[in-house]
């Protein structure tokens, strides 16, 4: 087994006696894309700031490629590219000068910077703004600048704090492409979001943070079962059968009728969805009805996530 690129063990952080992170532990394998999900105030930024060395007083252990961020700070930080949730630049800074300095401080040689900076600006559609002052950029453009500075030195671990926030749809797509490309080049990526569906298509694995604790980690598929998600079947008639009473048959599950010709069945745990679909088709045809659509419903991840968070917070 390859050793993890990032390792958090028992990371605990308090502010004024209030625990913001309570014993957070997880690992990320080299080349993995990890989505760090949690509601506002869950402690996502706090965790990422600890990784990046902005917060240095915490309990527990964090290792990047084996280097302890407390004891071997410089070695650990040479491996990481970090985009904070918000960052600033001096008033007089132009886009180009900001990136050149930051690249230099990351140890990127001048000739490489001269090549890489225009290429990245081009990629993020900022080339035209390169001589502009940073303070004159729009919010989304500043956000992109934050991303570029994290990518400049081609770090082995890319840590992005809510990178999709504030980006327009084409830019979001582009960022997702960039993340995928980096992954193919061997980069490990950790990014936070409070929108589960954002993560769905790019993350190999997801960690859910709630109230300072990692509730669960796993693939999106693992998560749906961790959420205790019941299987649901959507039924949509083009012509309803004479009698739809059979849909409320307790053997099928619990039925709900959101629109006149549409039904949603919530199956009891362990029920055989295929057999139930078969039964519904048969009964509909027998009752003289016609079906427009029938099938297992796609889980609405964000709804689930919201419900999960609500329920687990109510439980406490």
């Amino acid at each position: 087994m390859t050793s993890p690129l990032l390792q958090l063990r028992g990371v605990t952080k308090s502010y004024y006696g209030q625990k913001v992170l309570a014993d957070v532990s997880f690992e990320i394998a080299p080349g993995e894309v990890f989505g760090y999900i949690g509601p506002n105030g869950a402690g996502k930024s706090t965790t990422l700031k600890i990784l990046a060395g902005l917060i240095t007083t915490f309990d527990g252990e964090v290792r990047i490629a084996g280097a302890d961020v407390k004891k071997e700070r410089t070695r650990a930080h040479a491996l990481i590219g970090f985009m904070p949730q918000s960052c600033g630049f001096q008033n007089w800074r132009t886009v180009e000068s900001a990136l050149d300095t930051l690249g230099d401080l990351s140890g990127v040689p001048a000739e490489v910077r001269a090549r890489r900076i225009p290429a990245l600006l081009e990629r993020f559609d900022l080339l035209a703004a390169r001589t502009k002052k940073v303070k004159e950029l729009s919010g989304g453009m500043t956000q992109k600048l934050g991303l570029i500075q994290a990518l400049l030195h081609e770090p082995r671990l890319l840590v992005l704090d809510e990178p999709l926030e504030g980006l327009d749809p084409p830019s979001r797509q582009m960022l997702k492409d960039v993340i995928r490309e980096r992954q193919q080049a061997g980069t490990t990526v950790l990014f936070s979001s409070h929108i589960l569906s954002d993560v769905e298509h790019i993350a190999d694995r997801v960690g859910i943070l709630n109230r300072g604790q990692v509730a669960t980690t796993g693939s999106i598929r693992d998560l749906t079962s961790a959420f205790g998600l019941p299987t649901e079947i959507d039924v949509w008639f083009s012509t309803a059968p004479a009698d739809t009473g059979f849909l409320s048959d307790p053997g099928l599950g619990v039925a709900d009728q959101p629109k006149p010709d549409q039904w949603r069945l919530v199956l009891t745990a362990g029920a055989d969805a295929d057999a139930i679909i078969h039964t519904i088709v048969e009964r509909t045809l027998a009752g003289g009805g016609r079906l427009r659509k029938i099938g297992v419903a796609e889980p609405a991840l964000d709804d689930l996530f919201a419900r999960y968070i609500l329920e687990s917070n109510r439980g406490n």
Partner: protein
């Protein structure tokens, strides 16, 4: 290898001072105002207070006097206000996450302001000497020696004030606090090297002043570095 982080940051700071016209103000406008002020009020009796009827304060001495009271405050405020406001605007986040020593950020600020204000002192005193020469007071070895002595004392004042600025900049979270600390506490700290002079206990007061200043600069910047290294962002 890339350039040393401190050098790179000093270069950037100086470039920033140039871009934001700080240099123009320090090197041109302030000395010009001082000289104009001198020319306007040079015959004022009060200004020449203890000098007697037919003696006038030279432009050179006038400039040294003005600078000794102003340059320190300017240096301290520049450093501290810069550090606090850049920190508030989260400028340091992107530096601190890079594989450099955090101290480089603070050193760069100290060195850049020190250079900037010291050059302003040189410009002002040179301007004072130039005005004296034009007004018929020829430049000679004594004037050169006194000017150099005044300059090296000014350099110490500027260095010490910049160090005070670094310390108060690093511990303050708001600009108002930093400014208040400097105006009330900073002034007292920068007087310390002069204390032996008042008592006149030691034979060569010039060197005592220089030595105490340098020691204090080292101590204050060291303390500031320790605090900054432990700062949380």
């Amino acid at each position: 290898m890339a350039t040393s982080p401190t050098l790179r940051l000093v270069r950037d700071e100086l470039y920033g001072f140039a871009r934001s016209k700080v240099m123009l103000v320090l090197w041109v406008i302030l000395p010009a105002i001082a000289i104009v002020g001198y020319l306007l009020f040079k015959d004022n009796a009060q200004l020449n207070g203890g000098l007697g009827e037919d003696h006038q304060l030279s432009a050179n001495t006038f400039m040294s006097l003005i600078l000794s009271s102003l340059s320190g405050t300017i240096a301290a405020l520049m450093v501290a206000v810069d550090i606090v406001s850049e920190r508030q605007r989260k400028v340091y986040e992107l530096y601190v996450i890079r594989p450099i020593r955090r101290e480089a950020i603070i050193w760069a600020k100290f060195i850049a302001v020190f250079l900037c204000v010291t050059i302003a002192c040189v410009v002002s005193i040179a301007l004072g000497i130039a005005v004296d020469t034009v007004r018929g007071d020829p430049f000679n070895a004594t004037i050169a020696f006194d000017a150099l002595k005044a300059l090296s004392q000014l350099t110490c004042v500027v260095g010490l004030s910049a160090a005070v600025g670094v310390l108060f900049g690093v511990i303050s979270r708001t600009i108002v606090v930093a400014v208040l600390l400097i105006l009330y506490g900073g002034q007292n700290l920068t007087i310390v090297p002069m204390i032996p002079t008042y008592f006149g206990v030691l034979p060569d007061q010039f060197w005592v002043f220089q030595l105490v200043s340098v020691l204090m600069i080292v101590a204050l910047t060291w303390l500031a570095m320790v605090i900054f290294r432990r700062s949380q962002f």
